[in-house]
């Protein structure tokens, strides 16, 4: 059994990922048949060996007259044949590119000035700590220097925002406007701090309407980034299941607020028989599984099929109405109407869970 070499399999796979390959060689007869037969554009230039000429004639599909031309090909001429668009051999003269040498010294200078080369070299981590000559500061070219003033401002801002971050960690379910009021900050002062923690990517922003009122969405902050936890010296919680910030926030928000609405034994990412349910709880002795659907509308029916044996009612909740209509239309395609399955927007579940369950 002949085994395909790894390189040949690489060439085959590279096509799927938009990587074009230009292969060149002296003798056409030495190239593997699998490569020759899989190449779309084939160019044959003058060949000296009899074996190579014969191979070239057969691969390019030349007739007897054309085959004679193979012996007369001049420098810079070649016979080309495409795979499908124009599958007839064609004689072509290639333009001549005059080579001009560039000395080592000139190349050194060009590379030392090239910001892309400097960037590539700056990422190299060497065993022997050394400074590459190309990375030395260039005379006459302004170097990037840290603005000390702005750096100290940043530190001050960071100190100010630490308390805010701790508050976000402890009271994640409070909207930003309420949080600013609690801190006794003016709108502009609070805005500065919020902007800073957003820019530094210490928090994720979530906009949700959790009351169902007409006031629009409120802005919530949630720390999901390790950088954010580092800033307040806390260890990030173990995460499983949905990885998005919205999913993370809603799981915790629902757990906290559904207990006030008659739910008991609420548990996040509960593992029942190998299947994890986003939020599991009991409502009037009914086992309820709540799945949060943020963007995976098409695959949500799988969650329902897995959860329905373990729970009496499965609620799939979405952050907004638009997602819910999308979800409903996807579920209709895949599942027959089922009494066990309920879909709702988060604020409906938070305000009137009894309406959804009964």
């Amino acid at each position: 059994m002949s085994q395909e070499s790894y390189i040949i399999s690489c060439i085959r796979r590279l096509r799927e990922y938009g990587e074009g390959m230009v292969l060149a060689d002296q003798c056409i007869s030495t190239i593997k048949d699998v490569v020759k037969s899989n190449v779309y554009t084939l160019i044959g230039m003058s060949q000296i060996g009899q074996k190579d000429r014969r191979e070239m004639i057969s691969v390019l599909g030349l007739n007897s007259n054309q085959a004679q031309m193979v012996n007369f090909l001049d420098v810079g001429q070649g016979i080309i044949r495409l795979g499908g668009r124009y599958p007839f051999p064609q004689l072509i003269a290639f333009p001549f590119v005059k080579p001009e040498n560039i000395s080592e010294k000139k190349l050194d200078e060009a590379n030392a000035k090239d910001p892309r080369v400097r960037d590539l070299l700056s990422r190299v981590i060497s065993v022997n700590v050394f400074e590459h000559p190309h990375l030395k500061p260039l005379p006459g070219i302004p170097q990037y220097t840290v603005n000390k003033e702005s750096e100290s401002k940043k530190d001050k801002m960071f100190e100010k925002s630490k308390d805010m971050l701790l508050d976000i960690f402890n009271r994640f379910d409070v909207a930003s406007t309420v949080r600013a009021k609690d801190f006794g900050l003016s709108a502009s002062a609070a805005d500065k701090i919020f902007k800073f923690i957003e820019q530094e990517q210490l928090v994720d922003i979530i906009r949700l309407n959790l009351t169902g009122g007409r006031g629009g969405t409120s802005k919530f902050y949630v720390i999901t980034n390790p950088k954010g936890y580092e800033a307040i010296s806390k260890t990030p919680p173990k995460r499983s299941g949905g990885t998005g910030a919205m999913h993370f926030f809603l799981e915790r928000y629902l757990k906290k607020h559904l207990s006030e609405k008659g739910f008991s034994c609420l548990e996040i990412e509960k593992n029942i028989g190998g299947k994890r349910i986003d939020l599991f709880g009991k409502y009037n002795e009914l086992k309820i599984g709540i799945e949060i659907c943020v963007s995976t509308m098409k695959s949500e029916f799988i969650n329902f099929q897995k959860d329905q044996d373990k729970c009496e009612i499965v609620i799939i909740t979405t952050p907004d109405k638009k997602t819910k209509t999308k979800l409903d239309s996807e579920l209709i395609k895949k599942i027959e109407p089922n009494k066990k399955l309920k879909t709702c927007v988060v604020h409906e579940l938070l305000n009137h869970p009894e309406k959804i369950i009964t």
């Binding site: 690489c10 938009g18 390959m21 060149a24 072509i92 590379n111």
Partner: protein, 299 residues
């Protein structure tokens, strides 16, 4: 012929030459040997050259280049010139490419036509750690690829591949700080093999490890600082620019093609870890003397 080409010294771009072919045409005396195509049949973004006895320019489409191109010709037929034409065309279209120069410093000459061509010399600017997986690729997966290629190129036996995979994996997972992104270097691998061979080990294993060690040692002695690094030049960044890697000076073609195939495999693994392109051309890889890697006799 030199008289005909004397004007070329004055032109700044090789494209002007498309309009005025002046090469000897053997077809004139022999009638219409090749069928004359319609213009739309041979029109393409990447212009290759003039069709003889016609003003038409033969070009290929970008999506056609994704399905690869093979050019064969004896030495002096104009292969390297054709590769330079292709590189200029890709540069004109803003398609990044990667060229390896193994013998002639041919691509360096293009700096005149492409000021933004990056030339990385193996002994100066090019640094590569074969044990560092490309971004997004699992370490274990990459180590298997590394062993596969190393044994394939150096002609080692299948059992050597297993021993090498096992050895490299143990070395990787035994490092002091597994969370650190400082990967062991090829020199570390060489030292590790040396230490292992000093121990009392079964004779079978000794034989295979000896074979691997001799090749790895040759690589370390030849490439020295180029591979004595924890993290090399990032592959993903290199794919954004027109780059030429000069391996001229590495006298062993085995080692040259070992580097080339590892880089090719790294690109393939990196691309595989990302979404498919569905036929659109992202990058082009030039491989001269391809028989070293895809030939019947070799590998």
């Amino acid at each position: 012929m030199s008289e005909n080409r004397s004007h070329i010294n004055k032109v700044s771009s090789p494209y002007r030459y498309f309009k005025r072919p002046s090469l000897h045409d053997p077809q004139n005396s022999r009638g219409q040997i090749f069928e004359k195509p319609r213009e739309y049949q041979v029109k393409g973004d990447i212009r290759l050259g003039n069709i003889r006895n016609s003003k038409m320019i033969f070009g290929i489409l970008r999506k056609e280049l994704v399905r690869h191109l093979l050019i064969c010709g004896s030495s002096g037929a104009g292969k390297s010139n054709f590769l330079r034409v292709m590189q200029i065309e890709l540069h004109r279209l803003g398609i990044p490419f990667l060229v390896f120069d193994t013998a002639k410093l041919g691509s360096r000459f293009l700096k005149r036509y492409m000021q933004d061509l990056i030339i990385l010399r193996w002994d100066k600017e090019f640094f590569f750690n074969p044990l560092q997986p490309p971004p997004g690729v699992k370490l274990k997966e990459w180590l298997m690829v590394f062993s596969e290629i190393t044994t394939e190129i150096f002609g080692l036996r299948t059992a050597s591949k297993l021993y090498l995979t096992q050895f490299v994996q143990t070395m990787m997972f035994q490092k002091n700080d597994p969370s650190s992104s400082d990967f062991p270097t090829m020199h570390d691998l060489n030292r590790g093999l040396e230490n292992r061979l000093k121990e009392r080990i079964p004779i079978n294993e000794r034989g295979y490890l000896n074979g691997i060690h001799s090749k790895i040692k040759a690589v370390c002695i030849t490439l020295e600082e180029m591979i004595n690094i924890h993290q090399g030049i990032p592959i993903d960044e290199m794919l954004k620019y027109p780059v030429c890697i000069e391996l001229v000076g590495i006298k062993s073609s085995e080692i040259q093609y070992w580097i080339i195939s590892l880089i090719m495999a790294a690109i393939a693994s990196y691309r595989e870890a990302r979404p498919m392109s569905f036929g659109s051309l992202r990058h082009v890889f030039f491989l001269d003397e391809a028989a070293h890697l895809v030939g019947k006799g070799e590998v």
